[in-house]
């Protein structure tokens, strides 16, 4: 069972990697890495609270719904967008999203608030 600080390091490394990806060339990977950053942020919350590990994406979503509803909308949207990026064809994904909207609508409006919330919650 990874500790909270191990999830923090994973989230930070994912975030660092995210900053190196060109959104114009790989918007799909931008949202996938954003989601897995959010996953480790959620697991960091869970570990810090002594609630163990999530058993999967569904279990983690339920945990966010019940224990941290303040970030639920952000997490839900990052997960939904990432799901489309992971499982659909490239042409479908590029029809559904404009590269220009991803940094603002998936990262600044969604992942950033999750990070801020987790940092505040851990250090409260």
């Amino acid at each position: 069972m990874p500790r909270a600080d191990q999830h923090r390091i994973k989230a930070e490394r994912n975030r660092l990697f995210l900053s190196t990806i060109s959104v114009n060339n790989h918007p799909d990977w931008v949202v996938v890495v954003a989601f897995y950053t959010a996953v480790h942020l959620a697991e960091r919350l869970r570990a810090a609270a002594g609630h163990g590990d999530s058993t999967g994406h569904d279990d983690r979503l339920t945990y966010i719904q019940l224990e941290h509803p303040d970030i639920h909308t952000h997490y839900h949207i990052v997960q939904n967008v990432s799901m489309l990026a992971r499982y659909q064809s490239n042409s479908d994904f590029f029809n559904q999203f404009q590269c220009a909207e991803i940094p603002d609508r998936s990262i600044a409006q969604r992942l950033d608030p999750i990070e801020e919330y987790v940092t505040k919650w851990i250090t409260r």
Binding site: P69, T73, N80, F97, R105
Partner: protein, 153 residues
């Protein structure tokens, strides 16, 4: 002469009349299996007859009202056979992912979760049958169209 047989339907189609759920006899078994599995994924599932009632009154009917209220955006919704978690796919009319609508979808999901349902609701922009199969097994899934008139024969 051999009588032509209709191709088997993958989905069980539900419709609503005056707010009441209508299930055709051929789809009744699929509906009951789906309802049973869905309520197993709910905290405090209760007795079977009460489970079906809860599935209808707490999930299907409110969700249908929500889809009707957002009918300009929602084409249909699908509920694959639940396991430990109920997954709902809301298919929109637009080819673009709608970030504003995603907030409404998230709010709906949280509303159901707060009443004990283990549920995820995802937006799928204008997905065709091939795309749907990427996300779930259509066998045994429930299909509901937002507008009753838009349900295909």
């Amino acid at each position: 002469m051999v009588k032509p047989t209709a191709a088997p339907r993958k989905y069980a189609r539900l419709s609503f009349t005056d707010g009441e759920i209508v299930v055709s006899p051929r789809d009744r078994d699929i509906f009951l299996i789906n309802a049973e599995k869905a309520t197993e994924a709910c905290q405090n599932a209760g007795q079977m007859d009460r489970r079906i009632e809860r599935f209808e009154t707490e999930l299907l009917t409110p969700r249908h009202k929500w889809c009707r209220a957002n009918a300009t955006l929602v084409k249909a919704r699908y509920i694959p056979v639940p396991r430990s978690h109920i997954q709902v796919f809301v298919v929109t009319n637009s080819r673009r992912f709608d970030f504003d609508f995603a907030e409404k979808v998230a709010a709906l999901e949280l509303q159901f979760a707060s009443t004990g349902w283990r549920i995820g609701v995802s937006q799928l922009p204008d997905a065709d049958e091939g795309s749907l199969a990427t996300f779930f097994n259509p066998e045994g899934a429930l299909e509901v169209y937002a507008e009753s008139g838009s349900t295909p024969d």
